[in-house]
Every structure is written in structure tokens, then in C-alpha cells.
């Protein structure tokens, strides 16, 4: 049973996180920050472009970290 649960967990980790956890970390972090801002009253006109820009900047940063590390 434990082996099965471990295999299922590993499958979903590989499926969603893939071989670079930093991308998932960036997306989730940006999402959490954006959610907090929205909950504090920031409207869609500001939240949407901020969210999109943060995801793009985060992705670019991850790519440069990857290339520098390799």
C-alpha cells in the first residue's frame, strides 16, 4: 500500500513538477502573492497585468538560472 501511494505521489510529482521544480515554485509563489493582493482589495485592472508580468519575469529568471547552473 505504501509502495503504491509512493508510486502515485511520484507519478504526480513527475507529471506536474517535471524536471525543473523552480518553474512550479515561481508560478505558485506569484499566485499566492497575487491572491493576497486581490484579497486586500487590488482590482482586476492591476492584478491581471501584475500577475502576467510576474510570471514572465519569473520564467525568464528560472531560464537564466538553469543555463548558468548547467
Amino acid at each position: 500500500m505504501l509502495r503504491f501511494a509512493k508510486a502515485v505521489g511520484q507519478f504526480w510529482y513527475d507529471f506536474i513538477i517535471g524536471d525543473d521544480w523552480k518553474i512550479a515554485a515561481v508560478v505558485v509563489t506569484v499566485l499566492v502573492v497575487a491572491a493576497v493582493l486581490v484579497a486586500r482589495g487590488v482590482g482586476s485592472a492591476a492584478a491581471i497585468p501584475l500577475f502576467a508580468a510576474a510570471v514572465i519575469i519569473g520564467f525568464v529568471a528560472v531560464m537564466f538560472i538553469d543555463v548558468a547552473d548547467s
Binding site: I17, I23, S44, V55, M63, D66
Partner: protein, 273 residues
Amino acid sequence: MGSSATWALLLAVFLAAIVEFVEALTIVLAMGITRGWRSALAGTAAAVVALAAFTTAAGYAITTWLPESALQLTVGTLLLIFGLQWLRKAILRSSGLKAMHDEAQIFDKQRQAAQAAHPESRFGLDWFGAVVSFKGVFLEGVEIVFIVITFGLNAHKVPAAIAAAAAAGVVVIVAGALAHRPLTAVPENTLKFGVGLLLSTFGTFWAAEGLGLFAQNGESFAWPGGNWSILVVLGIWVAVSRLLVLAFRRRAAARADADVGAGVDAASVTEGA
């Protein structure tokens, strides 16, 4: 959802499904040729049944338990992570920092592994061939199901998304049956780049809409310009990807120059599927 956005959605599903079907076909072909077609096809059929059950369960759970904005947020976030993973690999490959996906090489590796495996019979089948075929079809199939469900439910176009994936399956299976070898002519890296861009675009779009879940009324946010903003987001992702490829190509060329003396191949920096 407008017709242009719907066509983009169907194109994304079709291309993503082509890529995954080609990868699954390579595995099934290798098993069929080396371990026997009966076992390979039995494994494939079992995987199709498992996928159907998975699709039904996942689709029911998502539509039953998630409100609209939560659905957009969940699906958008997953698509974004998934799409950016594809885009990352495609950018590294296009810039020469990662080895290109080679279907012929994968086929050879699978065939060698199948030839080396000890014969073991269960339920009248060659167990190695059946299990490897099952795993290959199921794992690649889950990615197709994931894309079909997420795109289909969020855009309220599930039948169209299923039709696009099924059409891709028919194209690949017919081509594979005619060629009787891996479909190496399919420009898989280019397709992955395109699909990565589309998944990232729709992921960004829907995740941002889903942020409305945290607003006081809990309703989905609306992008300025509605669905037309999808084109703007796509344009930005295309530009960002192109700039990254150009920047990394220069870096790869500089590394290649530096490694000439040491005999190191730039594409050997990172490996992967």
C-alpha cells in the same frame, strides 16, 4: 469564447496530442516488433481502458466540486506549470543547450531493452511487452487527457477538444501503421515549442481570470479586451521565448568555442525527454 480562441484551443489540443501519440507509438512499435504484437496491443488496450476511467473520474470530480473561478484558477495554474515546462525544454533545445528529442534513438533504446529482458509469461502474454506498452500509452495518454479536460472544461468545448485529440490519434496511428517504424519525420521539437506557447498562454489567461476567486464577490476576473487579450499574451510569450533562444544561442556558441579543445559537445550539457 470567440471562434479564434476556440480554433487556437483546438490547434493546441491537436498538436499536443500528436506529440504524445508519436511518443506512445514509438514505445508500442518497439514492443510489438521485439516482444510480439499480441502483448503490445493488449497492453495498449488496457491503457486505453484505464485512461477512459481516469478521464471520467477526473472530469466528474472537477465539474462537480469546483466553482467557475476555482476551476479557472486550478486549471490555469496547472496549464501554466505544464506549458512552461514544455517551453523551457523547447527553448533549451532550440538554443543548442539541450540534446534534441530523437524518436529513432528512443526506439533503438526501447528495442534493445526489450531484447535484453527475460521472457516471462502471464495471462498468456509476454509480460514485459504488455507492461511497457501499458505504461507508455498510459503515461503519454494522461498528458493528452489532462490537456483535453483542462482546455475543454474551461472553454466549455469538451466534445471539440476530444475530437481534436481523437483526430490526432487517427493521424498518428494511420501514419505509424503505414510506415511501420517510428515517425521520425514529425517535427516534434517544433510542435513542442508551439504547444508550450499555447499552453502557457491559456494558462496565464485562465489563472489570471481565476484570481477573482479571492475578490470579495468571488467571481472570475475579466481581461481588458476579453478574449482578444489571448493574442496579446501569446505575442508576449512568443517574443520572450524568441529573445531567450537568441540569448542562449550566443551562450551555447561561446561554450562550444571554449569546449573545442576539450572535445565537449554543447548539447551534452543537459539531457532529457
